[in-house]
């Protein structure tokens, strides 16, 4: 190492180029503005070279090479385009289509499907190879993730994202040849597997072999039912991403249009999950102060349901470290069916709570028995993903971008900027630091921005001075990164607070967020950061930036809960966790 990289000279489509040794043909071609078509390739995942869509003709080889997994060599002559190579690629994609469920018009991914786009750009205009097609059942056991193996093209991106980015290793290819199927160990149901419901398999799937379980039907039904008081709440990161579904550039804050659209859809009240986030912050800051005195430390955040499942299946010994606070979604749902219901004199059974989340694991969280009232009424009735809400707005014929801005409803719609930044990795940490520093010192914080935790990349740590104490904080997103921090904690290293979000980039990169447009890679860091920046912009534009200065929160505490950390607050706003089977291998 340390040696200067050797340069390699080669020709691509008759143009001479020099690149570093070790460069792949695909990357070398990219330097010349040639985008070689691809399917199984993803730059953040290991190489599979399995789909053969990116084949190129290398002089003297006698067979085609996969450009994604072949490195250049001195004097190489590559043809990326010739009638033969285009024909071969077209045949490969056509064969993939032939073993694929071709119900495009009824498919959730119609119009956003990489296989569709590929077939179009490769010029598949007719079908020549009609043959045997795999027939496999739809697997619906999970509350969050639906597996449709008939639509699987065996690219293996889900297998790799699950193992390499999330460290879960739930998926693998089973069997061989024509009967190969992707699924959990023993081809068990997703519900009986170590799946943590993060939904990153949905994000990276080029087709619809993985999808979120649909929640919209129940929502349409509730809205149409005059008996029901239908309440919706939207997570912080929805406002930063929803615009993409209507052609707005990534990172366009669309809070106002989103609220108006939700009203037009017929929701009776539009509340803000940010309010729940403000409440979470205050409860969590109090919990942290108690832990500073009594332990156990570090305290690990528990807003991300994918992370909570991961902890219960992979690191159950760390459960005592997880904050007992319910997530912002669940806190808001609880208050809607208790505080708000009492205030308005509505029977909680007549309230239908819809939560719009960037997350498919929230669908699972909502069905955990801890989040039901004693009489069996769920606090959260249905969870929709950002994608599902975008579809509902389109279905309703609402011209989103032309909508006048609306405001969230009182009393659970007022939120501080600290609530907004919950939607991006590092945001929960920053919001907690804002609150904790004042609680510890009793003096107004000398700063509100903790830019040292603002980064979309996977792993950060820093020391923050709170009063006369130095607080060691760690932030991780993507569970492979989280594992690194968790193992250090287990090794005895001293941390005070750890924020873990299961998805890359935090909620902005959640498993329920809009698919990127054609040509943009899934989980692109810059793309995710642009969504995050929208939240920072919203935060800095607010005059109310600290959770405990939120008057609506003060009102809830003084008139209903009796103050932070009280018995009532504990009963309503906190939860518990348990070790689960099957236990994952870390």
């Amino acid at each position: 190492m340390g040696k200067k990289k050797q340069k390699i000279s080669l020709k691509i489509d008759d143009v001479a180029i020099q690149v570093d040794a070790g460069t792949t043909i695909m990357d070398a071609a990219e330097n010349l503005g040639i985008r070689i078509p691809r399917l199984c390739y993803h730059p953040d995942l290991s190489l599979a070279g399995s789909c053969r869509v990116c084949i190129v003709d290398v002089k003297g080889m006698g067979y085609y090479l996969a450009a994604c997994s072949s490195q250049v060599w001195e004097g190489m002559e590559v043809q990326t385009n010739s009638p033969e190579i285009r024909q071969a690629r077209r045949d490969i994609v056509e064969l993939l289509c032939d073993n694929h469920n071709m119900d495009c018009q009824t498919c959730e991914r119609d119009g956003h499907c990489e296989l569709q786009n590929l077939a179009y750009s490769m010029g598949v205009r007719a079908r020549h190879f009609a043959g045997k097609r795999k027939r496999l059942p739809l697997e619906m056991s999970s509350h969050s993730v639906v597996r449709d193996s008939e639509k699987c093209v065996l690219c293996g991106r889900c297998v790799r994202v699950c193992a390499e980015i999330q460290g879960v290793h739930n998926l693998s290819q089973h069997g061989r040849g024509f009967t190969t199927v992707v699924g959990p160990a023993h081809m068990a149901n997703m519900d009986d597997s170590v799946c943590i419901q993060c939904g990153q398999c949905i994000n990276v799937c080029p087709t619809a072999a993985f999808l979120e379980k649909r929640g919209s039907s129940a929502v349409w039904e509730a809205i149409a039912n005059p008996e029901m008081h239908v309440v919706v709440q939207t997570a912080p990161s929805i406002r930063a991403a929803i615009g993409e579904g209507f052609g707005l550039p990534p990172g366009t804050p669309a809070t106002g249009q989103m609220v108006t659209a939700l009203r037009r859809l017929g929701f009776d009240r539009v509340f803000d999950t940010d309010f729940g986030a403000d409440l979470t912050i205050i409860e969590e800051a109090h919990e942290f102060l108690t832990r500073l005195k009594e332990g156990p430390l570090p305290m690990i955040t528990s807003c991300s349901p994918g992370w909570v499942s991961f902890m219960e299946k992979f690191y159950p010994e760390l459960i005592p470290h997880a904050s007992t606070c319910r997530s912002p979604m669940s806190m808001l749902s609880v208050l809607s069916k208790t505080y708000y219901a009492e205030k308005m004199g509505i029977d909680p059974k007549k309230i239908f709570m819809v939560a719009v989340m960037p997350c498919v694991a929230k669908k699972f969280e909502a069905r955990r028995p801890e989040h039901y009232m004693a009489d069996g009424t769920p606090y959260t009735d249905t969870v929709l993903t950002t994608r599902e809400l975008i579809w509902m707005i389109k279905c309703y014929g609402i011209n989103f971008t032309a909508l006048p801005p609306g405001e969230f409803d009182a009393p659970l719609g007022l939120a501080s900027g600290a609530g907004d930044i919950f939607g991006i990795t590092g945001g929960v940490m920053e919001a907690t630091l804002r609150a904790a520093s004042e609680l510890v010192t009793g003096k107004p914080a000398d700063r509100l921005d903790f830019t040292e935790v603002r980064d979309v990349r996977g792993l950060r740590e820093t020391y923050v001075a709170i009063g006369d104490r130095s607080i060691h904080v760690g932030v991780a997103n993507g569970l492979t990164n989280a594992k690194l921090l968790l193992d250090r904690i287990k090794g005895g290293e001293e941390f005070h607070v750890i924020e873990v979000m299961a998805c890359p980039g935090g909620c902005c990169g959640g498993g329920g967020q809009p698919y990127p447009p054609e040509g943009v890679k899934v989980l692109d860091v810059d793309w995710l950061f642009r969504r995050g920046k929208a939240l920072y912009t919203i935060d800095s534009g607010k005059t109310l930036r600290k959770s405990y200065e939120n008057p609506a929160i003060e009102e809830v505490y003084s008139s209903y809960l009796g103050g932070p950390g009280t018995e009532k607050a504990h009963e309503l706003l906190h939860t518990h966790y348990q070790a689960r089977q099957p236990r994952g291998v870390r």
Binding site: H169, S172, E317, P320, Y577, A579, G584
Partner: protein, 177 residues
């Protein structure tokens, strides 16, 4: 870190109980070596030789003790033809599909076995008596078509004879148990 939430002790003890001493010893030896996880196939062979097949419980136990993800273990086990994921029956039926037997109608004999038992290649009948396998020449082409049941060879088998033949072994199986 004793907290009362950790179920590892339970998981490990259950895995050791399922696999038995010999397999556990092999796994522990592998784990002491660098890249011990690359010995997965060797460990699976050991389990199969000990128990006749690889059950889900066996595979999960191997995954935990080797700390190789269960999906990887079951993916490997399902890929290789040699590994059996179902218990073997008391009698393995080997229908020879070699050239001579095939020409003499082994496919019809095989179909009759499949129809009678309601299982296909590699499967075991529900009562646990028969496992159906295909053989590629048993070296007794003079007797074609040949069916081997257990360690007994049956020559010149016709589809009509299949029910009685199976009945004979069914009776044997019942006597044995």
């Amino acid at each position: 870190m004793s907290t009362g939430t950790d179920n590892w002790g339970q998981v490990e003890a259950a895995a050791k109980f399922v696999l038995g001493e010999a397999v556990v010893a092999l796994i522990e030896k592998c784990r002491r070596e660098p890249h011990g996880e690359s010995q997965l196939i060797a460990v699976l062979h050991k389990v199969q030789s000990q128990y006749g097949y690889l059950s889900e419980t066996h595979l999960d136990a191997v995954a935990q003790l080797m700390q190789v993800p269960a999906a990887t273990v079951s993916g490997v086990a399902s890929f290789y033809h040699f590994f059996r994921l179902q218990p073997r029956g008391k009698f393995v039926i080997n229908v020879c599909l070699g050239t001579a037997c095939y020409v003499k109608g082994a496919d019809r004999v095989a179909q009759k076995v499949i129809d009678e038992l309601g299982i296909t290649w590699g499967e075991t009948s529900k009562d646990g008596v028969f496992t159906l396998e295909a053989a590629r020449c048993l070296g007794t082409c003079g007797l074609a078509p040949v069916v081997m049941i257990g360690d007994e060879i049956h020559g010149d088998v016709t589809p009509d004879q299949v029910p009685a033949l199976l009945g004979k072994y069914l009776k044997k199986a019942k006597q044995r148990s």
